[in-house]
């Protein structure tokens, strides 16, 4: 609406959008709608609801984030175990150095460097866009997003494994003649995973934040790109929706981690009874 808009039109639209009601009933209505999954209509894309816009993009982002999370777990846990079981050797030092680098180099650097090397100079991998989880275009962004996660999970696994290895029950397990594989899988791994799983909620959040950067660099049509676009266009319904959904997912992920806890480690029981 420009400054020359007809006053009657302005009135009609205010009435239609319910902007004449008092602020509390407007807020109440917004909350009711949100709880039913209706975030209103986008300012920028006229006539399209936020939920409809988000649904498609969220699926893209979710796939990308899960690919990165999968990468960081499937590489981080074995690497951490590997380093811990060879503590003090060259392999251990090398792994620790790699994790230090991976943790302190920001995605801001890895994304352009990876693009420059693999896409522009070597020209072996495609750079732009999105074609689903089984497309070559997912490889580079997933690696870039996975690197910090790999580093953190490797460090956590290494540290907790070192602690577990020193415990008495590991010696007991060995001395009762269990095979090395069984000891490592049933006794070491299971116990050393507890602190790592605590971190998972936070690493997922970390991955979600890097996806803002990575989606932008790699031109992936996901939530991150839409979010930045909406901030610049002051498209508040979308911004609100992304924040509400993102925050609830973060809180839920941490709740989930807390609930998995007692299942993993029977020593921790919610409700904290020391009697038995």
């Amino acid at each position: 609406m420009g400054q020359y808009a007809d006053a009657s039109v302005v009135d009609r639209i205010r009435e239609q959008r319910g902007l004449n009601d008092n602020i509390f009933s407007q807020y109440g209505r917004y909350l009711t709608n949100v709880s039913q999954g209706d975030f209103g209509e986008s300012f920028k894309y006229r006539g399209r609801t936020v939920s409809e816009l988000l649904k498609k993009k969220m699926w893209v982002s979710a796939q990308l984030n899960l690919a990165a999370l999968f990468l960081s777990i499937s590489l981080g846990v074995p690497l951490g175990l590997f380093a811990a079981l060879r503590q003090g050797t060259f392999w251990d030092t090398g792994t620790v150095a790699f994790t230090l680098l991976g943790q302190s180099i920001p995605v801001f650097l890895t994304a352009p460097v990876v693009l420059l090397v693999f896409a522009l100079k070597l020209d072996i991998l495609p750079t732009h866009g999105w074609g689903g989880l089984f497309d070559a275009r997912v490889i580079l962004p997933a690696i870039v997003m996975g690197v910090p996660g790999i580093a953190i999970i490797t460090r956590m696994t290494r540290a907790s494994t070192l602690e577990v290895i020193g415990q008495d029950y590991i010696r007991t397990a060995r001395s009762k003649g269990l095979s090395e594989f069984t000891v490592q899988r049933r006794h070491v791994l299971r116990n050393s995973m507890i602190p790592v799983i605590t971190m998972l909620g936070f690493s997922l959040a970390g991955i979600a934040f890097t996806s803002f950067i990575v989606e932008r660099f790699f031109g992936i049509p996901g939530i991150g790109n839409l979010f930045i676009e909406s901030i610049f266009a002051r498209d508040f319904p979308i911004i609100n929706a992304v924040i509400i959904i993102g925050t609830s997912m973060f809180v839920l992920a941490n709740l989930l981690v807390d609930l998995i806890y007692p299942w993993l480690d029977p020593r921790i029981r919610l409700g904290g009874s020391y009697a038995s």
Binding site: L100, Q103, S104, I105, P106, F108, L109, A111, P112, L115, L116, A119, L120, T127, H128, A205, F209, F212, I213, R216, F217, G219, F227, I228, I231, F232, I239, I243, G246, T247, F250, V251, N254
Partner: protein, 320 residues
């Protein structure tokens, strides 16, 4: 005789270097620590004295010289408006430096230590109150809430600064102070809790010591006990945590500016420069526009991390 002996021991104990002197000397003995300090001093120095160090102004446009590759006159090249890239990076560093320092000073140091001391010393309801607020605030993802705070608090603060401007007749808004203020404030609100929890834990231990009881018995006031007896004894983990948190705060500032809610143009900021040039087409045609800010940022964050490790080693009282 005995008197003299006591006097001598007292003199000797005075002449032994303090914990701080030892720790700082230990930090300076390490090559990594010194290198990090030098790099950070250089970056901070060039950031603080930016107007003196840089050959150009950060907004000096030269439309006949756009998108130049690095050369002698423009060591880091020029951007799409012909502005000197090096100058803009130095000013961007200044932004990051100011926000990092202000955030840590207000959030972690002032708020975090005070609330931690209070919670730990008084315990009970005060403790519960402060800790529950902190836990709730840390259950939410930081960046989103910073975003909300920045977007809701900026208009009133801008209005307020305009009023001050009218009173003093001096142009404040164009300095970008409002952005600095709002972003530091928002980041500080979320950075105090880690520090408060740490200090509280330390105080819970320290307040059971006999010197606290002794101080109380000779009639020292509560603020005096907290500041002179408890605070010095909890400082070493505080230093370690602050130095480890530098990189995180700097990173958040850059991410916020990258998302477009932080520093607004024309004030230069690393995040904004990365955002503007963060595309494959820029990377293909003039990579220097993206790579130099990104490399500077990485160097800063990497140095912060290394320094954090070095400080943790040097200031750890158990490691002597």
């Amino acid at each position: 005789m005995l008197h003299e002996q006591v006097k001598r021991t007292l003199d000797e104990s005075q002449s032994t270097p303090s914990y701080w002197a030892i720790s700082i000397r230990r930090l300076l003995r390490k090559k990594i620590g010194v290198t990090c300090l030098v790099i950070i001093a250089l970056m901070y120095g060039s950031g603080i004295f930016a107007p003196l160090v840089t050959p150009y102004g950060y907004n000096d446009q030269d439309l006949s010289n756009t998108k130049q590759s690095p050369s002698l006159t423009h060591p880091f090249g020029t951007d799409r408006l012909g502005r000197d890239n090096l100058t803009r990076i130095i000013y961007g560093l200044r932004t990051t430096v100011i926000i990092t320092v202000v955030t840590l000073a207000t959030g972690s140091l002032a708020l975090g230590i005070t609330l931690g001391l209070v919670a730990g010393y008084f315990g009970r309801l005060v403790d519960t109150f402060i800790m529950r607020i902190g836990e709730v605030s840390s259950a939410f993802p930081e960046i989103f809430l910073v975003l909300i705070i920045v977007s809701t608090f900026k208009p009133p603060i801008t209005r307020w600064v305009r009023m001050v401007e009218d009173l003093v007749g001096f142009d404040i808004l164009s300095l970008g102070v409002v952005d600095y203020l709002v972003i530091s404030l928002a980041l500080a609100i979320f950075s105090w809790f880690g520090m408060a929890r740490l200090v509280r834990g330390q105080v819970l231990q320290a307040r059971e010591n006999q010197y606290v009881e002794a101080a109380r018995s000779i009639g020292a006031s509560t603020p005096r006990i907290m500041l002179r007896h408890l605070l010095p004894n909890v400082m070493s983990p505080v230093i370690v945590t602050v130095s480890a948190g530098l990189a995180a705060v700097a990173g958040s500032e850059v991410l916020i500016s990258f998302l477009g809610i932080g520093i607004q143009p024309p004030t230069p900021s690393l995040g904004l420069m990365i955002f503007e040039n963060g595309s494959i087409s820029v990377l293909r045609s003039d990579p220097h526009l993206l790579l130099f800010p990104v490399l500077t940022l990485s160097l800063l964050l990497f140095t912060f991390n290394l320094l954090g490790d070095a400080v943790a080693d040097a200031f750890n009282p158990r490691a002597r």
